[in-house]
Point group: C2
Chain length 490, copies 2
């Protein structure tokens, strides 16, 4: 294993790529833009899935599954939606290969589809076409459904987890009888995401709404959570859309209200993806590798024995067995790394690279002294502690580590939200420090686009908690009622 | 809701279709051959996933994720594999749509892929291409990986769950240093499937191996579990393949052995799919709807209140709350159906259709008498029982129901395995009774094909526990050493 990753200060982007591969999280596949999620990376994703899935179910949602393919014509039914997705989609045109007689496998031109199928980039269209058959009356509402699935968007420039042609995600699609109920749902799910990001991923996020320019194709309002990475760039970590009646109108989905009137149904959709893996990595990790918050770590505690003789090893084994049982009873996941093919130093570096929150080293002298050595991944500190009450010590420490990782990220973010009141200042901060820049903006798409062209910064969101404050747009000098957050973003 | 499903005796096939839709399990989508798995159906699939996933992890496997797309050239590398799958696959040829200027969304012909991509029908090729980068030495082996994924096979005639163009499955792909270890793995996973089918699905299965003719494309040996449906047709419920070194050779995957020799890696793959939903339905259900074994039921107990006044309702609510808490503490899933929009009779029929194993009805008089009425879905019997120790009564009854469903299916199967010793007898049994027909066969592909042409029956498997027994092939009269099982199959 060895160190072998580029440092963040040297080349942040290369550091990320190195880490993803060296920590065994993912790798590029032979298919352009598609990744292989390796077992260790997938185990972290599974933890995310399990925790999110429980939160979805606790808020009344059920899972279902809809087709991978979407007929091309469905796409065209919601005008802004097709514009948003048509330029980057995988198109299935044929349904058979054949041997050309000379030993080559070729597409069978006689097996051409009448209508092309698009590999779903998102499922609003196929789902609303389905909901049409499920909804007649207000009694059929709300529909609160989520889907765990793969989607494909033909990105030209890809990066592992952050931007891949195929990625894994969940997409919630709900149907409601009223405008207000749908807005409430969109806001509820945003809060589920925000709480998950902060409590589980230990990543502080800003809750906000997108400007018209950055809104989801087909939404009336896009709520988002925005996180800050260590290089000062923002990352959109989840979105929840209030879709109004757009998809209900496009697919003619009406219901009879309590009052007996026929009305179009109100909709939301919301999703997070394997992109969260990128956010997790870039928010916490360091030059030694991955740093995982305990709540997400597939292995929370690794135990490494230090021994010279088989007898020493046998004694350590006995101690570890007892400790492991105690920890497992507390639902703490433990790995005993007693490989005899590697030295302790190699193991330390490997588990450090993989971000295991806590390492326990135990040697023959420890057994005599009734101690072990604990090494925290987050602070890179070691201490010798008593074996007395060790399981509880470990449990408490995992809680402290979770907190510490969050607060470290929170401090970093606090230091990287800068209020500016002029365009000069804006450009200066963007260049020198990065992070979120809080400033006034005149509310037009035009201004946002021009700032983006000139600086590459976009409006990440209008924070939900933004205060009313009279000011002037840093770019045009026109009046503005509240500050927005700009940043360069992933 | 109402009854409204065709009876099995009238039209078994229509009964199945009716049931799948009426029990809210799945429906056809707008995309040819692709299904929508509805929330209730998906909840059953999630139970299957959770239980299988735990069994895979308990046997040392980890999950990972590989690309949806497979380059066409990969397909061609294993000759029998491409033959098996090329004739029914979805081919991606373009990566962009565009507006043709007249408002039509069309394929952008300038965005044609250099090499076509196949939507995975199974992932051996892309995975073995990946494993090449993971394996150098015997220390890297075994690799024990599973993937939960969607796959696409362009079936022309589709049926919900049983045969769909897109389906959900898991596919295990393992790599080993030796022939024997790979065979052991293939056999171990077959036993995991068999045990899951019998213990969880309550479906008895026959463990066997496929004949050459029915083997997986690219396998040296295909192990299978075969179940019997109520119409006397067999259903292959899971397969586990010993792939030999075929894929390692096709993708040039070698390792350095302990002895320092460079050798090709040995492989297995194994999978079960949403087809299991079809097996589950057809093995147990009846003319009133779905019958679910308790271990798979998303709702194990439904409680229906019978009341005339609000006061009665309030008293029942109190009783139900206590019972529900007790049951939930025992990990029994309960639904209290206190909708005031439907009468009890309607609710009874609905939960019967959805296969809830146990129904508790409780009225004002029950509260006075200290009783409730329990109705078993499997036997369609009711009894009045005491409220004393009710939670334990229910827990025991769920165990009894699970057993009973299994034994009912087992008896049916025992009655439908018929030994025959002549081709006349074979055709007669096949026609009059169906089920598995145990007979001698000369071991040739030719004979198997001819019997299939004449009778539509195929060899489902050579049972693993088939005894050595001298006999003659029912078709050719040539000598045979053991009996095989023929049947018509799904």
């Amino acid at each position: 294993m060895g160190k072998g990753i580029t440092s963040r200060s040297e080349d942040y982007s290369q550091w990320y790529n190195d880490l993803v591969v060296k920590a065994d999280l993912a790798e590029h596949s032979a298919v352009r833009g598609c990744m292989v999620i390796k077992p260790y990376g997938y185990a972290i994703w599974e933890r995310m899935q399990a925790i999110l899935d429980k939160r979805f179910k606790d808020t009344g949602h059920s899972n279902a599954y809809f087709p991978l393919f979407i007929p091309k014509s469905f796409f065209s039914k919601e005008a802004s939606h097709v514009e948003g997705f048509a330029t980057e989609c995988a198109v299935v045109t044929h349904y058979r290969l054949k041997n050309d007689g000379e030993g080559n496998i070729v597409v069978d031109e006689t097996a051409k589809l009448e209508e092309e199928l698009i590999v779903r980039p998102t499922s609003e269209t196929i789902i609303w076409n389905t909901y049409k058959g499920w909804i007649e009356s207000y009694r059929d509402l709300p529909i609160l459904v989520n889907q765990w699935a793969n989607v494909v968007r033909w990105e030209m420039r890809t990066r592992l987890f952050l931007r891949t042609a195929e990625f894994l995600w969940q997409e919630g699609h709900t149907a409601h009888a009223t405008h207000d109920e749908a807005v409430e749902e969109a806001e509820r799910m945003l809060e589920v995401y925000a709480d998950f990001a902060e409590q589980t991923l230990a990543v502080p996020v800003i809750r906000g709404v997108k400007t018209e320019n950055e809104r989801f194709a087909g939404a009336l309002e896009t709520y988002c959570i925005e996180a800050l990475m260590q290089d000062g760039k923002a990352l959109q970590a989840g979105t929840s859309h209030f879709l109004g009646q757009n998809f209900a109108k496009a697919f003619d989905v009406k219901f009879t209200s309590k009052e007996g009137k026929l009305e179009h149904v109100w909709a939301t959709s919301w999703g997070v993806s394997t992109r969260l893996m990128g956010a997790l990595i870039m928010a916490h990790s360091d030059d030694q590798g991955l740093v995982l918050p305990p709540k997400l770590a597939p292995i929370q505690v690794v135990i490494v024995p230090i021994y010279k003789t088989e007898e020493e090893k046998a004694n350590i084994d006995g101690f570890v067995q007892t400790l492991t049982n105690e920890l497992q009873d507390m639902d703490i996941s433990v790995k005993y790394d007693d490989r005899d093919t590697q030295r302790p130093g190699f193991k330390f570096a490997e588990w450090e690279m993989k971000g295991v929150p806590l390492r326990v080293a135990v040697g023959a002298r420890d057994l005599q002294n009734g101690t072990v050595e604990l090494a925290r991944r987050d602070t890179q500190t070691k201490e010798t502690v008593s074996q007395e009450g060790l399981a509880v010590t470990i449990e408490n420490l995992l809680g402290i580590i979770q907190e510490n990782i969050y607060h470290k990220a929170l401090s970093f973010r606090s230091e990287h939200i800068t209020e500016v009141n002029s365009y000069e200042e804006f450009k200066d901060v963007l260049e020198s420090k990065g992070g979120f820049i809080s400033c006034h903006w005149d509310g037009t798409v035009e201004t946002e686009k021009r700032v983006k062209e000139e600086t590459k910064a976009t409006i990440r969101c209008i924070p939900l908690d933004a205060k009313e404050e009279a000011g002037v747009c840093i770019f045009t000098g026109k009046p503005s009622g509240k500050r927005v957050l700009f940043a360069k973003a992933y």
